[in-house]
Every structure is written in C-alpha cells, then in structure tokens.
C-alpha cells in the first residue's frame, strides 16, 4: 500500500545522519568525568604470567588506576561463557577451558589482555601501559589445527586433553558407509576454509559508567544484541543484576557477527568504572581489532560424495576439524556444528549424510560467527564437491546439479533441516540465462586466442536463516531462546514508534521496518520512528545476526500491529457508530466499508488517549507488544555464476561477469536487499581471492594490519548482475526469508570453481592469490 510500503526502494532514512557525520557512535559519547582505558596485552601466543608489576605505571601522570587479571578474579567477575552446549559422540560434554576477562596466570593468544590502565587521557593510559612490567615464561604454542592435534602438541587447557573440545557427529554413519560401498563413483576433496578477520568499519568500543548512589551501571557498547549482553553480564559475569544494568548500543558501524559476543573489554570497562569511581571508555584501534575481534571460518575438511551409475547422489561423508582459537567464544561451539553440518545437504536430494566435526583449541584469537557462520563453510564443501564430481564424471556441472535438485517440498534432509519451500531450478535457469551459459565455450576459445585462461564456476547455495525456533534450538543445546519482540506505540497525535529487539548496524532497519507500518496503515514512513539498541527503552530482544531481523523481528512487528489495528478498529467503529467488522484501513484512515464515513488515524489515537469516549470497558492508550517465536528456519537459496579470466603470466584473476539469482522470498525494500547482496558478495569474493588470516608457527599474526591483510576494494570486484526468483516463505506472514548473508555464503565456491575451471587444475586453496594461482598453473 502506498509508495513507501512493501516492495518500494525507499531511500534509507538513516543515511542522512551517516553521510553527514551526524551518527552517534560509542566513541562520540562524552560523559562527565570520563577516563580512558588502555590494555596491556600479551606479545606471546602462549606464556605463563609470572608477575605483573604496576607500581611504576601507577605513578605516571594522569593515571587513575591500574587493574590486573588477578584483581578481576579476586572480585569474582565470572569467566567468559559459551552459550551453546555441544555433546561429543561418546556422550561427554564439551571440554571448555576457563577464560577470565584478563589473564591472571596464563596467556594463550597474542593480544590477550593481562592488565588495564585507566587514565585521564588515552595517551596517558598508553604511556603508563608501557610502564606496566609483565614477566612471562614462554611456553610452546600450537598455532594451527595440525599443530594442535599432533601427538605431543602443546596443551592449552587442562580440561581439554589433546586440545580437543568436542568430537561431534550428525547423520547415519553405517547407512552412509553402505552408500559409499555401493557407489558407482566416489569423489573426494580436501578443503581448507581460510580464517578471516571481520574488520567492521567501526572498531569495538565500550564505556562503563557506575552510579554509586543508585548502585546502577550503564554500558555503552558496539553490540548487535544489547539485551543479550545485559543478560550475560548479569547472569554469568556478576557485574550487576539486570534491573541495575542498562546496555545501550547506539549507532554501530558494522558487525558481521563479530559484535554479537560479549568481550573482555566490555566487562572490564563496567567493572573498572566501579573500581575507579569514574566512567571508563575503551575504544579499540585497528590493530586491536585484528588481534581480538573474534575471527571467522578456519576449517580443515575431508569431503566425499557417492554417486550411482545414473549420477544421482547417494551419500555424503564429511570430516571437519574446526579451529576455535584459544578460548570458546560465546557461540563458537554452534558455528561448526549446528550452523554448518545441518546445511550439508545443500540444494540436493542426498539420502545419506554423515559428518564428524572435531573442534580444537589453538594459540590464536578466538573464532566465532562471521557473516554466514558455518553456512559458507557448508556451501563451499557441497559446491566444490559438485563441481569436482561433474569434471570427474565429464558431465555438465549445471546438469549434474539439476539432476540432483530437491524439487518436492517440504523436504526433510538427513541432517535435521526441513526445507519448507524453494525452486532451485528457477534460480539456476535465471543465472544461466543472465550469464549466457550456452555461449561460454565460444567465449573461452576467444579468450584462449588472446592468451587468457577463461573459466566459469557455479554455486547453488542454501542457508538456514530466520534463526530460530526456540524449542528446537533449545533441544540442540542453545542456552537462549531465539524469538524476537516488538512494541508499537501509536502516540496521541498519530505518529508511531516501533520498539524492536533487533539491532541495526548497517542493515537499514530504520527504513525497512517503517515500510511494514506504511504498508499496513498507509501512512508515510516519516511518521514512523524505529527505536532500538537500548535496554531501558526496548522491552527485550535477541538482536541481529543470522539474517533473522526481518523474518523474526519483522514478524514480531506485524504481530504487534495486528493487535494495535484490532483495538484501533474498535475505537473507530465506536466513533463512527459502525460495526468493527466493517472497518477497513486505507491511506491512514479508518473507513466504514461501502460508505463515505471515515476517521483519520490521529483522531483514533487521540480518542484512545483522551479516553473521553471509548467503548465500555476498554483500557485507554494505543500501544501493543508481541513476542514472536518462529516455527521453522527460513531457507534463502540461489544460484551464483562467475566468469573470469586468469593471466597465466602473473596468476592474476580478472572478473568478466558475476551473476546472482537469489530467492529471498518477498522483498520489502529491493534497493536495501541489493546493497546487502553486494556486501555479501564482496566478502565472499574477498574470502575466495584476497582475505586470509595467517599466523607463523609461534602464533604471531602475520596479517595484523591492512598492509598484509587484503580487504576487498571496489576495483577488486566486478559489477554484479542481480536477479531474483521468488517463492514466498510459508513460515511467516511476510513471506520473507532473509538476505544478509547469502552473498558471503554462495560467492566463494563460484569463484574457486571458475578459477579451477580456467586453469584446469583443482589443487587450489583460498585465498586464491595470484601467487597461489600461478603456482597451481606452473607447479
């Protein structure tokens, strides 16, 4: 309804403040008496802390306090938790080592905080941090999965012998083995899924503020989920009870998952504000972001595909080692298990799947959810296998996929997920048409005559979004429910505030959510304000991640709107002396259908608040709340095709074309959706070609700045051709599925499939740098 309702590419409301520098981020916030924190961090990947001498630092100019790991332990601040319990195949729980917010005894990765200096200025805090003398006894380090699992490897935590956190399985092992025994063809692949650094544009930051008279804390923080932060800080870290802790996540400059977690720095800022009796601000710099923001991915996988004589897939067997870093971050355990192995069926009818996932500790930065979180890793395994199978069987990769597509819905996979709807053939058709797949051999031959190696690569991804039905995730070990809440306040003058538990840190909720209201009431979006990111304002919320905000948070808004409309119709019917069943809402007015009688929304709202003439027994006011718990995941899916050329002299890859055909269900704001896909594709292509966190064998991060960690730039990327095919999600009233992660999930396999096609050689790891591609070509 209206020009600003569902399906309208409305310009983003929030961009005015962002592009004019009027955003308000944590570091912009100035409080009376503010002090500044700087952390003393370990230069070693693994060492015992023999002593921390703070005496010289305490005497430095401007120093307000120097606090150590021992003090935070003595004050009984809780160790960091992991919110998802995973059970190993032998029935034992996960083997979790202790992670204090600052290390009192042992440091296990470079950058781990040992002490914090609080001073009048940031520079004074840095000066004094240099005067803190930490005595270390260096220990041998295990810097990657292979080093951590070999016999005699350095032990990180006494709780986890052999550095194994859990050895978990999913699916039917015997049936899958039988499928491989009976197979006509077996395809096998060893895959490294490279470690990534999230690199949100805004580094993490926190301000802790303690009000002694009220015994009340406020935390300003760069969070994707402020209510979850408050819950965890209260229930597990003993900082303050929930009613004495307000968490505010104001404008946040990107997250990509890395700002889901509650980090040591936020805990320390809050705790320290009480210790020193002043507000404490910490703003991380880019170097700290590289060393301490939770990294993503980092798998070693052996994957096998069984096919019968008709090229029908009969089985999939996967063994994955996942690197979780030195400590278990908040949702780290779930990423390589329930967010990964449950998607291994891809878009295909695979009767037998068995996966084993072994998660290990290493002396590296903790690893957790990063855009896609487990699903890019799964999609990469499946789509690299399909492409490799097609080459091995000498059949067209599109045809092999089509032959094995799931076409009947709902479809129960052997790995928990029940796909509700989709049309995988339609997406593949759209992508093939957009790239002129049939014309590729001619283009390849022409490129060859010009000295270039041209390749084409497909990737048909599926993801599980709209996270998630609370009962289902609870049965799988999740420590929280994953519903969402919304409150709609119609003010006495008819303007509307929507309080949502979702958090926008780049997604454009302030526009998209307004469009939901505009659609239903026919009011302009300028009359609607989205309120989020403050636990004192918003009733509750589980936050934004896993492409859940529209499917879950948006549905909560719809549910609250239904209640508001029902009450408003009663008021309108009373005022118009009509039956409420005859009231319809059009263009901001409540009309008696079939007549010219109507009353405008502001008059209904005013009537609700003056309460001079309401139906008998009706409470005044026009404000409703809804909590919505989804009934299933949503399943966005699509087909990406990449065409590129490799320069055989340098190994450099140049894009010719990149087409996407996504099925996200109904699109609320197509422009915002395109932006999300562009960003996701950039990160997926970044993983494929450029990005890779590298440690040396002693555990030093080699890619600790943008001088060595290659972030994708505009000129590294092609001009994307986006298409949409649509099946409406039956699980929610909006029919939406989520679009935030798709690009990052589907793109990397398309790129690697295209390069390996171009060079005729499958031995290529990500990131496929020119150096690696050249070596793959020339041996």
């Amino acid at each position: 309804m209206g020009v600003e309702g569902i399906g309208a590419s409305v310009v983003r409301k929030e961009d005015r403040r962002f592009i004019t520098g009027k955003g308000r981020y944590v570091d912009d916030i100035k409080l009376v008496g503010l002090t500044h924190a700087h952390f003393v961090r370990s230069p070693h990947a693994h060492a015992r802390v023999k002593g921390v001498d703070t005496s010289a630092a305490m005497k430095m100019p401007g120093v307000v306090g120097v606090l150590t790991g021992q003090q935070i332990v003595d004050d009984k601040v809780g160790n960091l938790i992991c919110g998802w319990a995973i059970t190993s195949k032998d029935g034992t729980g996960m083997k979790m080592g202790a992670w204090p917010a600052m290390a009192p005894e042992t440091v296990r990765f470079v950058g781990q905080a040992v002490a914090v200096v609080i001073a009048e200025t940031k520079n004074q805090a840095k000066d004094a941090a240099e005067a803190v003398v930490v005595t270390y006894e260096e220990l041998p380090a295990a810097a990657d999965i292979r080093a951590a699992i070999k016999p005699g490897a350095p032990q990180l935590h006494p709780e986890a012998p052999g550095n194994v956190i859990y050895d978990w399985t999913i699916g039917e092992e015997a049936a899958t083995d039988a499928a491989f025994k009976a197979a006509a063809n077996v395809v096998s692949l060893d895959i490294t899924n490279n470690r990534l650094v999230p690199n949100a544009m805004e580094p993490r930051a926190a301000i802790g503020e303690y009000n002694e008279a009220e015994e009340h804390f406020t935390l300003y923080t760069t969070s994707q989920n402020p209510h979850v932060a408050r819950l965890v800080l209260s229930a597990f870290y003993n900082i303050a009870p929930e009613h004495k802790l307000r968490v505010i996540a104001p404008d946040v400059g990107g997250g990509f998952g890395s700002k889901i977690f509650i980090y040591p720095e936020e805990m320390v800022a809050l705790w320290a504000s009480k210790k020193v009796g002043r507000p404490v601000k910490w703003t991380g710099d880019r170097s700290e972001a590289f060393l301490t923001d939770a990294h993503g991915r980092d798998h070693l996988t052996k994957a096998e595909l069984a096919l019968d004589a008709n090229n029908k897939i009969t089985g999939l067997r996967v063994k994955t080692y996942a690197n979780l870093g030195a400590y278990m971050s908040l949702f780290s355990s779930s990423v390589p298990t329930y967010l990964y192995a449950t998607l291994l069926s891809g878009q295909y009818n695979i009767p037998n799947i068995f996966a084993e996932v072994i998660s290990v500790y290493t002396n590296t930065t903790p690893v957790d959810a990063y855009r896609g979180a487990g699903r890019p890793e799964a999609s990469f395994v499946v789509e690299r296998l399909l492409e490799t199978a097609a080459r091995q069987l000498k059949v067209d990769p599109a045809e092999l996929r089509r032959k094995n597509f799931i076409t009947q819905f709902p479809h129960q996979t052997p790995v928990i997920m029940a796909y509700d709807i989709g049309d995988f053939g339609a997406s593949l058709d759209a992508a093939m048409k957009a790239i002129d797949y049939a014309g590729f051999p001619t283009r390849k031959a022409k490129a060859k005559s010009e000295g270039k190696l041209r390749g084409i690569g497909l990737s048909c991804y599926i993801e599980a979004c709209g996270i998630a039905p609370s009962k289902a995730v609870g049965s799988l070990g999740a420590g929280v429910g994953l519903w969402e809440s919304a409150e709609i306040r119609v003010n006495p003058v008819g303007t509307i505030e929507v309080l949502t538990g979702s958090h926008s840190h780049g997604q454009g909720h302030e526009t998209t959510f307004c469009q939901l209201i505009a659609e239903r009431l026919g009011v302009p979006i300028s009359q609607v304000q989205i309120v989020h990111g403050d636990t004192d304002k918003v009733q509750f919320g589980m936050g934004t991640y896993g492409s859940r905000s529209l499917a879950v948070g948006g549905t909560a808004i719809i549910k609250a709107m239904e209640k508001v409309e029902a009450k408003a119709k009663k008021i309108a019917a009373h005022a118009l002396e009509a039956s409420e069943n005859d009231i319809v809402i059009e263009n901001g007015e409540f009309k008696v259908t079939g007549t010219d009688k109507s009353i405008a929304l502001p008059m209904v709202a005013l009537a609700a608040y003056t309460a001079h003439n309401l139906p008998d027994g009706m409470e005044p006011g026009l404000k409703e709340t809804a909590f919505y718990d989804p009934t299933n995941f949503t399943f966005p899916a699509g087909a990406y095709i990449c065409e590129l050329e490799v320069d055989p002299g340098t190994g450099k890859t140049s894009f010719v074309n990149f087409v996407a055909a996504d099925d996200f269900g109904r699109l609320i704001n197509p422009m915002i959706v395109e932006g999300q896909v562009h960003g996701g594709l950039a990160q997926g292509i970044g993983q494929a070609l450029l990005e890779g966190a590298a440690y040396d064998s002693s555990g030093q991060l080699l890619t600790a700045s943008f001088m060595d960690y290659a972030m994708p730039r505009a000129d590294d990327l092609p001009s994307f051709q986006l298409n949409h095919t649509t099946t409406l999600c039956p699980g929610n009233p909006l029919g939406v599925k989520g679009c935030g992660e798709a690009g990052a999930i589907g793109a990397s396999a398309a790129v690697i499939n295209a390069i390996t096609d171009a060079i005729g050689n499958n031995k290529l790891e990500m990131p496929a740098t020119p150096d690696r591609v050249w070596h793959a070509i020339h041996g």
Partner: protein
C-alpha cells in the same frame, strides 16, 4: 603518539639548522611512513621538521635532455605534469599507479626515495633511468644512493632537494600490485638510453631493495623486445618470500613485468 615538536621552516637552510638542534629530529614530507609509525609508537622523534611546504622544494623543470623534479613535488603533480608526460611518460604512468588518490596528493618523490622502502616504485625509476639525486650538500648517482632496505647514502640531516633524470630513448614501467598494501609485489622499470645502453631495475623483489637485472639488460640490449626475454631465466636466490609471493613467483614476475614494461615503452 608520543609528544613531539613540530616545525615548519621557511627554507632548506633553516630546516637543516632545526635538524641539527633537535636531539632526535626527523624530516617530514608526505608522512606516509613516518606518521603511521609515530602513531603506533614505533618512532618517537624529538622534532618533526616539515619539508612538504617548502616552495624551493616544489616544482618540475624540463630542459634539453634533463627532467628535474624537485623533492617535495607530490605524486599528483608529477602525474599531471605536461613536462613529465612529454619527457618521460613512464614516470607519469608509474606515478598514476602509485597508491590511491589520497596518497598521490600527499606523497612526494623525495620522501619515497629517502625512505627507500624495498617495495616503493620510484627507486626502480631512478636506478633504471640513471638519475642523479641532488641534496643540500652534493649530488649522488642513483646507483650509489640506494644502500639496501630503508637505507640510503644520505648523511644525518642531509636533505634531498631534487632528482634529475636524463631523458631516455625509451622507458617503461610495469608492476604487479601487492594484494593488500598495493605497493609493488614486483615492479620493473626498463630504460633504453639515448646512447643505446639498457638499464633495468626491479623493486619489491629483492631482499636488498631495488636491484638491477643484468640478465634482462643483456637480452634487451641485444634485442629490445618482450619476446627477447622469453628464454631468460631469473634466479630466485636472494629474492623476498612471504605469504603474498614466493621467491620463485617474484622471479617470474621480474621477467613478466619486464616484458610488459618493454611493450609499454614501445
């Protein structure tokens, strides 16, 4: 950043005097290396003496067979200069590929060669073209100027005032960009002098910074064409190796970039 004293002298002489007075003074030009390392607290100069605004250090002159670029001239001004494009277009091309627009508006030729980053572009141009570095004290041949990683023939407090390039018969530059930093993973500058000599210099490749490549020089002297290099073998001994490029890969790049530079030179 540690505290420092910032100076903006009005002449080269004053700058040198201020330098001598400071306990641990540093000259500042474009600031692309000095400022980041100061911000990371890896450098703590007592005094920072800004040469970037000195009028006597800015400008480009072309006369006869010589192109002179004063030391504090920015990359952007070099790239845009009609004199440069006419006399040695390869230098304009090199500069256009250097960093990004923000870098090109601040970075200077003097700052680049004084820092002598092993992956900087300009050292290759100076060595290949047989340029002369002029300072407030003397003139130094490019062959004698670059002394290894981040090391030059400059004495303490000495200020580069200009670089003079003999105008060649032909010159070309090609580089493979480092995927992250966009410095030269390997860049090669080729020159055919008016006297018929051939000089080839590679940057980003050697553990000792900018290097001459005699094997390529010999082949091009015999036959100035990209094809003449097909059978040339470049040893990977002494070449840099890191996560972005093995020594063998850089050896390959020396040859491939040289071929492309020759093609560009015409």
């Amino acid at each position: 950043m540690y505290e420092t004293t910032y100076h903006r002298p009005s002449s080269v002489d004053e700058a040198a005097k201020l330098f001598a007075q400071g306990s641990e003074a540093k000259y500042l030009a474009g600031g692309h290396t000095l400022i980041p390392v100061m911000k990371q607290r890896l450098a703590s100069p007592s005094d920072v003496i800004d040469l970037g605004k000195l009028k006597e250090l800015i400008g480009i002159e072309a006369s006869g067979d010589t192109l002179t670029i004063k030391a504090a001239t920015t990359y952007y001004d070099i790239m845009q200069s009609a004199d440069v494009k006419k006399a040695i277009p390869a230098i304009a091309h090199l500069t256009s590929m250097l960093g990004d627009p923000a870098v090109r508006h601040r970075g200077t030729i003097g700052g680049s060669i004084a820092n002598n980053d092993p992956a900087a572009d300009f050292p290759a141009a100076l060595v290949s073209l047989g340029a002369t570095v002029k300072t407030n004290k003397r003139t130094i041949a490019a062959d004698d100027f670059f002394k290894g990683l981040f090391t030059t023939a400059l004495e303490d407090g000495e200020i580069i005032t200009a670089v003079s390039f003999p105008v060649p018969a032909k010159a070309g530059y090609a580089k493979m960009r480092h995927p992250a930093s966009r410095f030269a993973l390997t860049g090669v500058f080729v020159t055919k002098t008016k006297a018929g000599d051939v000089r080839v210099a590679a940057t980003g490749a050697s553990q000792n910074g900018v290097m001459r490549v005699p094997a390529i020089e010999a082949a091009l002297k015999a036959n100035w064409s990209a094809g003449a290099l097909d059978s040339v073998k470049i040893s990977d001994s002494g070449l840099l190796a890191d996560i972005h490029g093995s020594a063998a890969y850089r050896a390959n790049l020396i040859k491939v970039m040289a071929q492309r530079a020759v093609t560009a030179a015409g």
